[in-house]
């Protein structure tokens, strides 16, 4: 029995890789469709904050993730956009990550198609160009936005666009949101949120979600979507299930596999040591 366990512990890891592939691929082909209950309070916080904004208020949405973390964060951006346009809010999208410009264009492509067909570029939303220095942008949007963003991403002047009417800096805006896989959310909270008393919320990858617990407790972050679970929760709140919900559904079997492997390996190790 003992050498069987030893052989099991020394198993070729490519078998483990194969099992993971199967456990993830099966739910993609045949979804389990289990309900995603109990929404995180920090996700509810972001939902209530957007719900409470009067129509016409302006949301600054910073898309700061690249394809590397797209599956966790793209569904979050789409869910927030869908909710904001449903509440007739004005949205200003920008990015501080060079790798994100393509994803911002994908969002721009989807807004007229299925996210909010009735919204008009320039009247309801604007897309600002990439800027290389995050600290400079975060400080400048608190003073005079137009000193650093004079044109939109295609070079059209934005000062006389209808979406920018009455907007001079973050004090005239309702909420700031940064969706990122990097530490830019920490800088947004420090350089813009705290400094200009500007309510700020965010979306982050699951890896960095726990790092923001202190900001949520002090209220420096008004809400947070953490990883794909955050996206699924927000999709549940706005009642429009998409990639977030189907993603969480596919993860069911894989999560149980990880726990099973840890428990099994440790039991076998104890068995070898003491029996």
């Amino acid at each position: 029995m003992k050498n069987f366990i030893e052989k099991l512990l020394k198993i070729d890891r490519r078998l483990i890789f194969l099992t993971l592939t199967l456990l993830l691929f099966i739910p993609i082909v045949r979804p389990l469709g289990l309900p995603n209950k109990n929404i995180g309070t920090e996700v509810k916080g972001l939902y209530d904050r957007i719900e409470s904004l009067p129509p016409g208020s302006f949301i600054l949405l910073s898309i700061d993730y690249d394809p590397g973390t797209r599956p966790e964060l793209h569904p979050q951006a789409i869910a927030v956009l869908r909710h904001a346009f449903r509440k007739d809010l004005r949205v200003g999208m920008l990015t501080l990550i060079a790798g994100a410009t393509g994803l911002v264009e994908e969002l721009a492509e989807r807004i007229p198609k299925d996210i909010a067909p009735d919204k008009v570029y320039g009247k309801d939303y604007v897309i600002l160009p990439y800027q290389p220095n995050p600290a400079a942008v975060m400080t400048q949007v608190g003073m005079d936005l137009y000193k650093i963003y004079d044109t939109d991403r295609n070079g059209l002047p934005i000062k006389d666009m209808e979406v920018m009417k009455g907007i001079r800096n973050v004090k005239d805006m309702g909420l700031g949101i940064c969706i990122t896989g990097t530490a830019l959310l920490d800088s947004w909270v420090a350089l813009t949120g705290d400094r200009y008393k500007f309510p700020f919320a965010g979306g982050c990858t699951a890896v960095s979600q726990m790092g923001y617990a202190p900001y949520l407790q002090t209220g420096q972050l008004k809400g947070l979507m953490g990883g794909m679970k955050g996206a699924a929760d927000y999709e549940g709140l706005i009642g429009h299930k998409e990639k977030g919900t189907s993603g969480i559904d596919a993860l069911n079997l894989a999560h149980l596999m990880v726990i099973g492997l840890i428990v099994m390996a440790n039991i076998m190790m104890l068995w070898l040591k003491y029996l």
């Binding site: 590397g68 002090t218 993603g247």
Partner: protein
């Protein structure tokens, strides 16, 4: 963008994805090609973004077009000075660019760190105690005191001026357990995060294996398997050494 280009794009995406995944079985030329393509493509993408969104609109245009603004020359020269780091003889010129970035960066970050990570965090630890009355707020008071005690104990763990004996030792052991809960929760979240990324790739591969893309994923996968079988018999090297990679 014609339909055929989109289908061809599907093939390219599925191919590159499978090439990168092939590293899990064994290091092979397909993986190496895809990996180096990634290094170059990543740098190429950032280069064209910076070129069209910063150099041209913010440096080239003000110097060559109507509203001339020559003050732009100063940051441009400071920026170019950075590149001299690659030429040992004049690498000291790059110091002007670096000191400008580091000076501005430090000056900007110090007061904000004091306010956001120092003052507000202490204030945040005290707010749960600011209840109007004890009745009905027991849970908030309990959680608030756990946070305060945990916070102090973790700080004791990172305290280096005093030998860890007696009370300091107990406090720092309690601090360790708070850190363990934090790391455990972070580990659990990392598992979900990485799996979500893998789900994203498999979802794409599933899309590209559809009829619309002429079963791109299946075809490329088959080609790779054949390559490994042929390679296996051709090289006839003992497999054990490969297994570890």
């Amino acid at each position: 963008m014609s339909e055929t280009m989109m289908i061809f794009g599907g093939w390219v995406a599925a191919g590159l994805t499978i090439f990168l995944f092939s590293f899990l079985y064994k290091d092979n030329p397909f993986f190496k090609i895809a990996e180096h393509l990634f290094l170059g493509a990543g740098m190429g993408w950032v280069f064209q973004t910076v070129l069209f969104k910063t150099w041209i609109p913010k440096v080239w245009m003000p110097l060559t077009q109507a509203p001339y603004d020559f003050s732009v020359l100063i940051p441009a020269l400071l920026g170019l000075s950075l590149v001299t780091q690659f030429f040992p003889k004049i690498s000291w010129v790059s110091r002007y660019g670096f000191t400008f970035i580091m000076g501005y960066g430090s000056g900007l970050v110090i007061p904000l760190t004091i306010s956001t990570d120092f003052l507000n965090q202490i204030g945040g630890t005290l707010t749960p105690f600011m209840v109007t009355s004890f009745a009905g707020n027991w849970l908030q008071l309990l959680n608030g005191s756990i946070i305060a005690v945990g916070f102090i104990c973790v700080l004791f763990y990172f305290f280096f001026s005093v030998e860890h004996k007696g009370a300091v030792k107990k406090a720092s052991t309690v601090g360790i357990y708070f850190l363990m809960l934090y790391f455990g929760a972070a580990f659990g979240n990392t598992v979900m995060g990485r799996f979500s990324l893998l789900y994203g790739r498999f979802d794409d591969l599933y899309k590209y294996s559809g009829g619309k893309y002429f079963y791109a994923t299946h075809v490329i996968l088959a080609v790779l398997v054949i390559y490994f079988i042929v390679d296996h018999f051709r090289t006839k090297k003992p497999a054990i050494e490969e297994e570890a990679a």
